[in-house]
């Protein structure tokens, strides 16, 4: 029974991680790539860690796996935020199909083009 759960967890987790990589390859700009990478990779790694904890099933391993999970779950949003902020301030171009950039009127109103009025 445990074997089946471990196998399913690893298949699901590695599939999610693969989807994250496909998203990073296929998405049109850095911000959409980042959201594909962070969401799918945390979920994928979570499933892989649960499967490994069920397979190893002793206290030292479970403590290590839980600490990896807690650390990755806490730091992935932080690093995504840091990179998004840095990319935005470095004027990395947005995707052509972007409909709304709410921060542009606050940082550089003179460059505002075709953006709807805020407020």
């Amino acid at each position: 029974m445990t074997d089946v759960i471990v196998g399913v967890m690893w298949i699901v987790g590695s599939s999610f991680a693969f989807l994250a990589a496909v998203g990073v390859l296929r998405m049109p700009d850095v911000f959409t790539r980042m959201q594909a990478s962070t969401k799918a990779s945390t979920l994928g790694l979570g499933c892989l860690l649960i499967g490994a904890a069920l397979q190893l099933a002793d206290l030292p391993s479970i403590v290590r796996l839980a600490s990896i999970g807690a650390f990755v779950f806490l730091t992935t949003p932080v690093s995504a935020h840091v990179i998004a902020r840095a990319a935005y301030h470095a004027d990395i171009p947005l995707w052509d199909g972007t409909v709304l950039d709410e921060r542009r009127p606050l940082t550089a109103p003179e460059r505002q083009t075709n953006q709807p009025e805020i407020g």
Partner: protein, 88 residues
């Protein structure tokens, strides 16, 4: 089932790393490369965890912890570097 799961996970994670390397090489900007690098870090942690669990070599879990730590610090350092105005 766990045999098939192990093989499937190793092949899938390995090809995911290769796809992320394609993005790392193509760019086109530095933040794209940093995102790809961050994803490679998470994927390598996943690979190490699956390998440690399937071979019962528990010592490699510590390596996974260290790689997760270093990937986070590297991403934050690159973010600071980009934000200070060296985008290329």
């Amino acid at each position: 089932m766990v045999e098939f799961g192990t093989h499937f996970a190793l092949v899938t994670l390995g090809s995911a790393v290769l796809i992320a390397v394609v993005r790392l090489v193509k760019g086109p900007t530095l933040p794209d490369r940093v995102v790809a690098m961050d994803l490679i870090g998470v994927l390598v942690v996943g690979l190490i965890v699956v390998l440690a669990a399937s071979t019962s070599v528990r010592a490699t879990l510590d390596a996974a912890i260290v790689i997760a730590l270093i990937a986070f610090v590297a991403t934050v350092a690159y973010g600071t570097y980009i934000e200070r105005g060296h985008p290329e």
